[in-house]
């Protein structure tokens, strides 16, 4: 099964992409921003070391890009974030996101704000992306991170595009520092672990939570099953996998959903007996941000409080 990150992406739809399509080039001259865009494009695409001018008005349109941008940009640089990022159930940075006007993924909302840079994820509406690109607004697509290296790369890219590469380096350094505290923290336990949550999804190979488990020295059972990315697992699969450690992703536990019913399945209760069951909020690992370090810390701590204390503090 293909993973989200495997979708072919155009790293930047605009402005360099525009140059390839003669049909789209018409009318560009009408917008004075075009020249600025070209410069920006040259900088984004060129492997030039530094970014000269910081964009002044940055809009971001998806949960994961919102968080990276909020971590890296100056608060007054940001003109809008996606509405989901303002919801604490989905977002680890809801409080901070609430300071900005929300968008709902529509191009019109963004155009009114006249940003000079827009960040989107691969799953933003292609129509919205194309519409913004057509208006000469640089749209930067941040790919979905599936490894910790992807997280670092995304931070680096976003920081560079924002014109704050130093801040990016600092954030990566802090992330690595936090991660170092939990590296192989659970290796000695020799657990075969499985994460299971929201709608019966688990994390197979090429997924962030798999990375977190590997980082902690856990073996991810889902990988043994040949699973990749976000994978749907039935209760039977979970019981059959017979993990030593079951990690439950907490997501809107109070909401009546198939997801949470699966978590209360008697069969799961049975295999859980006598084995560690750990809950980690989904918000910490649903995006490739440095919060993953916290997900790792929580998982380590809650699985083996003593060990984690020793290595973590």
């Amino acid at each position: 099964m293909r993973q989200a990150g495997g979708i072919p992406l155009t790293p930047t739809l605009s402005p360099k992409g525009r140059g390839r399509d003669p049909r789209e080039r018409e009318g560009e001259g009408a917008y004075p921003k075009f020249i600025a865009c070209l410069c920006l494009a040259a900088l984004i695409w060129g492997s030039g070391p530094a970014f000269a001018a910081s964009p002044e008005r940055v809009a971001t349109m998806s949960l994961c890009t919102d968080q990276l941008v909020m971590l890296l940009a100056d608060p007054d640089q940001i003109v809008s974030v996606h509405w989901v990022t303002q919801d604490p159930a989905d977002s680890a940075m809801a409080e901070q996101a609430a300071r900005y006007p929300a968008n709902h993924g529509l191009a019109e909302e963004i155009i009114v704000l006249q940003p000079d840079l827009v960040f989107v994820g691969p799953f933003n509406s292609p129509f919205a992306k194309a519409m913004l690109a057509r208006q000469g607004i640089p749209v930067h697509v941040v790919p979905t991170a599936v490894t910790l290296d992807d997280v670092r790369a995304n931070i680096r890219t976003v920081a560079r595009v924002l014109g704050v590469p130093a801040r990016g380096r600092a954030l990566i350094a802090a992330f690595d520092r936090d991660l170092a505290l939990t590296r192989n923290a659970l290796r000695d336990a020799d657990y075969r672990a499985l994460v299971y949550g929201a709608n019966g999804y688990s994390a197979g190979a090429s997924s962030l939570f798999n990375e977190v488990m590997l980082h902690l020295g856990l073996e991810n059972v889902a990988v043994d099953y040949g699973m990749e990315g976000w994978v749907k697992m039935s209760v039977e699969d979970v019981v059959g996998a017979d993990p030593d450690l079951l990690v439950l992703g907490d997501y809107r536990l109070d909401a009546p959903s198939q997801a949470n019913m699966v978590l209360h399945h008697p069969a799961l209760t049975a295999i859980r007996t006598g084995k560690p069951v750990v809950r980690v909020p989904t918000t910490l690992w649903n995006c490739g941000t440095p919060r993953l370090a916290e997900a790792a810390r929580l998982l380590a701590e809650r699985t083996m409080p003593e060990t984690a204390e020793v290595s973590g503090r």
């Binding site: 006249q114 292609p126 990315g229």
Partner: protein
């Protein structure tokens, strides 16, 4: 000329044209959460222009074209099949278009923003070709309906398969959204893709008015009145397939307009299939434009999907029409 239906047909036309113009204007003026076009002193004249001409104009145009297509094709199909439950989706072209778009979008063929509509068009044409292959050279109404149902079922199954195998929950959500229809953020390029097919389709469909009138007396009598039922069938099916297929290619699935609008028009203009075509076309455009304004009204959360709103308005309305006609018959 007098007849039992319309006492003043010109009044109906005037009202419909005024509604279409009014709703088209409203569609240009109203934005997210019901705010008016941002005043240029707030955002600058150029930004206001961009929003008006590059964001809202294509959207309003697609609403106009799409609604006209659904209304006219719905009326024509109901006339052709002599069945008030017929709707444009019956031909199979729209589910074919939806499948084509979904396939292009999610399975690695995404190159450029026009790939989705192109995939949709290919899907619609393939569905029409299949329909022709299944129904044969001399299609009768029953074979066509059955073939359409079969194509719908198969395309729907394949779309569900795409949903099932979607690379991630987000992709699955996007497929679901596609099935619900939307005009948000479409550009003039989308209008140019849809418009020629819509125009050809509408011409084909509107050209069948008299044949549809004759067909209200059955195939034999229509033939004895000098019409070829097979030729009329071909024009309606092909026209509907092209026009609705093109619409679905750019906007996703939008239901109920084609089904309900002819029923709305019958009390106003009578049951003559030919006299129903133009009013249904205008009313379809008005309803689609209105629905596309409604989707923008909620302030919070994602924009509503157009197909959801048309179904939400359409279903109870349809029920009401049925109840009223039953009461009238009793």
């Amino acid at each position: 000329m007098t007849n039992a239906g319309p006492s003043r047909p010109w009044l109906v036309y005037a009202g419909l044209i005024a509604s279409v113009i009014g709703l088209f204007t409203l569609s240009l003026m109203i934005g997210r959460g019901g705010v008016w076009l941002p005043a240029s002193e707030n955002v600058g004249a150029d930004v206001a222009d961009i929003i008006l001409f590059e964001v809202r104009l294509p959207r309003a145009l697609l609403g106009l074209i799409g609604g006209a297509v659904l209304g006219a094709c719905g009326a024509a199909l109901q006339g052709l099949l002599r069945n008030p439950l017929a709707e444009p989706g019956l031909v199979g072209a729209s589910s074919g278009a939806a499948l084509g778009a979904v396939v292009v979008f999610y399975f690695g063929l995404f190159g450029g923003q026009m790939a989705v509509p192109m995939g949709g068009l290919v899907g619609a044409l393939v569905a029409l070709g299949l329909l022709y292959g299944l129904a044969g050279r001399r299609p009768d109404v029953m074979t066509l309906i059955l073939a359409g149902v079969a194509i719908n079922a198969f395309a729907g199954a394949l779309t569900s398969l795409a949903l099932n195998l979607a690379p991630s929950p987000f992709a699955a959500l996007e497929i679901v959204f596609w099935m619900l229809g939307s005009l948000a953020d479409r550009s003039m390029d989308h209008v140019w893709v849809a418009a020629p097919f819509a125009a050809i389709g509408l011409l084909l469909v509107l050209s069948t008015g008299r044949a549809l009138d004759a067909l209200s007396l059955g195939q034999d009598t229509a033939k004895s009145l000098g019409f070829s039922p097979g030729w009329a069938t071909l024009r309606v099916i092909l026209g509907t397939g092209l026009a609705v297929g093109a619409l679905v290619s750019v906007a996703g699935m939008i239901g109920f307009i084609g089904l309900v609008v002819p029923h709305l028009m019958r009390p106003l203009v009578g049951y003559h299939p030919s006299r129903l075509l133009l009013p249904s076309m205008l009313a379809g455009a008005a309803v689609m434009l209105a629905a596309d304004v409604v989707v923008r009204l909620p302030m919070q959360g994602p924009e509503l999907k157009l197909g959801v709103v048309t179904a939400l308005i359409g279903a109870p309305f349809f029920l009401m029409l049925i109840l009223r006609s039953r009461r009238a018959a009793a």
